[in-house]
């Protein structure tokens, strides 16, 4: 899903997508829209903050809060 949003980056090589410039605020919104649709959930608006999209682990933790395990 991340590659679909920013195909030019290697997300596996980064531990902080935001600080490394791999995701900006609009990319986070796009990712949330994709996650909501894919997993039939609604990530709360207050959860759309950089801390939750820093890396794969934080995104996985966010999904787990919504009952999704990957």
């Amino acid at each position: 899903m991340l590659k679909g949003i920013r195909p030019e980056f290697d997300f596996a090589a980064s531990s902080d997508f935001i600080a490394d410039g791999l995701l900006d605020s609009f990319d986070m919104v796009t990712l949330v829209a994709d996650l909501d649709k894919t997993f039939s959930i609604s990530i709360d608006g207050v959860e759309i903050v950089p801390e939750n999209f820093k890396n794969i682990e934080t995104i996985r933790a966010l999904l787990q809060k919504h009952g999704i395990t990957t």
Partner: protein, 355 residues
């Protein structure tokens, strides 16, 4: 701060839109992003086209055009106005007030109160609160509330944070005394410590415009704007809205003794479709009760988006029907305000184009 008003109503709403329309797919050429990313943004945010003024058109030109339409159609008598409130962030001048400019151009009578309010996306609700407060006076029976902005003139075309969503428009809302009817409930909050989330840094007395403030700067995320341009911290504004608006609506409904289900329409400010759908999810409001189609069709014209949402989505139904409507505006200041009122039947309600 809570407000309760009695024996007052909205009797008409007219939205005035510039005829010139610009499409997002054309705007994309100005952004330093791939076409795929921009198209994805279009889909998620609901961007498609927006109405923008051309040349040197001022917000007051739209409002004056709208008033003349109402006078010509005999939907409003010029001498019946006791007050004129203009809510705008794009005044004609620092001085005189734009409300006086409009009053003078229309030849309205001298025995009235004209007032400018510098407010933005919460400006429709803030303006209504002010209008209802004025109607508490024995000498004031009818007030025209004008919301108007042409902020496209202050937005960098190379700023993807702001340009795709911006729109220009004006609205004229007539409020007046009315015997009986349901009480009107409102609340409003402000936080000036977060004022820099939405601002035009240069052009006032703190930082006058100069050749330096007109220079486009790389402000990150491949956006370019000058200090003379509107600046929006999108993430800060998004989080502000998601944190502050749901409890505000809960508090308003508690004040009125109403439930979410009892409200016919949630006519909210229209920043983008994604933000409104997130609010719906949080507040358990069905999407169909909260229109989110104004950015898509017309753009976000600050305080004009709520009257635009009302006139576009309810249109002629407002001439004959009555709805319990929850209004909410949120933005510059920062300010967040809401109102619950019964709307309709109206004497007039519609949209016209400014050529």
């Amino acid at each position: 701060m809570n407000f309760t008003f009695r024996n007052k109503k909205i009797s008409g709403i007219l939205t005035i839109l510039p005829a010139h329309e610009q499409k997002f797919v054309d705007d994309m050429k100005n952004f330093n992003f791939s076409e795929a990313r921009s198209l994805k943004l279009k889909q998620v945010m609901g961007y498609d086209r927006h109405r923008l003024v051309t040349g040197g058109t001022c917000a007051s030109d739209l409002a004056i055009f709208g008033f003349r339409h109402l006078f010509d159609q005999e939907l409003l008598a010029p001498d019946s106005l006791d007050g004129l409130i203009v809510v705008t962030q794009s005044p004609d001048y620092f001085m005189p007030p734009t409300s006086n400019v409009i009053q003078g151009e229309l030849g309205l009578r001298h025995d009235m109160l004209c007032l400018d309010i510098n407010q933005g996306c919460a400006g429709f609700v803030v303006g209504l609160i002010q209008a209802f407060l004025m109607l508490e006076q024995d000498s004031i029976s009818r007030v025209a509330l004008v919301n108007m902005d042409v902020l496209s003139r202050k937005v960098s075309v190379k700023d993807r944070n702001s340009y795709p969503l911006i729109g220009d428009a004006a609205s004229i809302t007539i409020v007046e005394k009315s015997e009986g009817g349901a009480p009107i409930f409102a609340n409003s909050k402000m936080d000036g410590t977060r004022r820099e989330a939405l601002m035009i840094p240069a052009g006032g007395f703190r930082l006058p415009s100069s050749p330096e403030t007109a220079v486009l700067e790389d402000v990150g995320d491949n956006n370019f704007r000058a200090k003379d341009n509107l600046r929006m911290d999108g993430s800060a504004v998004f989080n502000f809205v998601q944190i502050e608006v749901p409890p505000m609506i809960e508090s308003l409904l508690a004040l009125a003794g109403k439930s979410v289900d009892s409200v016919d329409w949630f006519m909210f400010h229209q920043p983008n479709k994604f933000m409104l759908e997130k609010l719906c999810d949080k507040m358990k409001v069905p999407y169909e009760k909260m229109p989110s189609n104004i950015v898509e069709h017309f753009g976000n014209a600050s305080g004009v988006t709520i009257p635009t949402a009302i006139t576009f989505n309810l249109g002629d139904r407002l001439r004959a029907e009555s709805f319990l409507v929850c209004l909410a505006g949120f933005g510059v200041g920062l300010t967040w305000s809401s109102m619950l009122l019964r709307l309709g039947p109206l004497g007039f309600g519609g949209m016209i184009d400014y050529p």
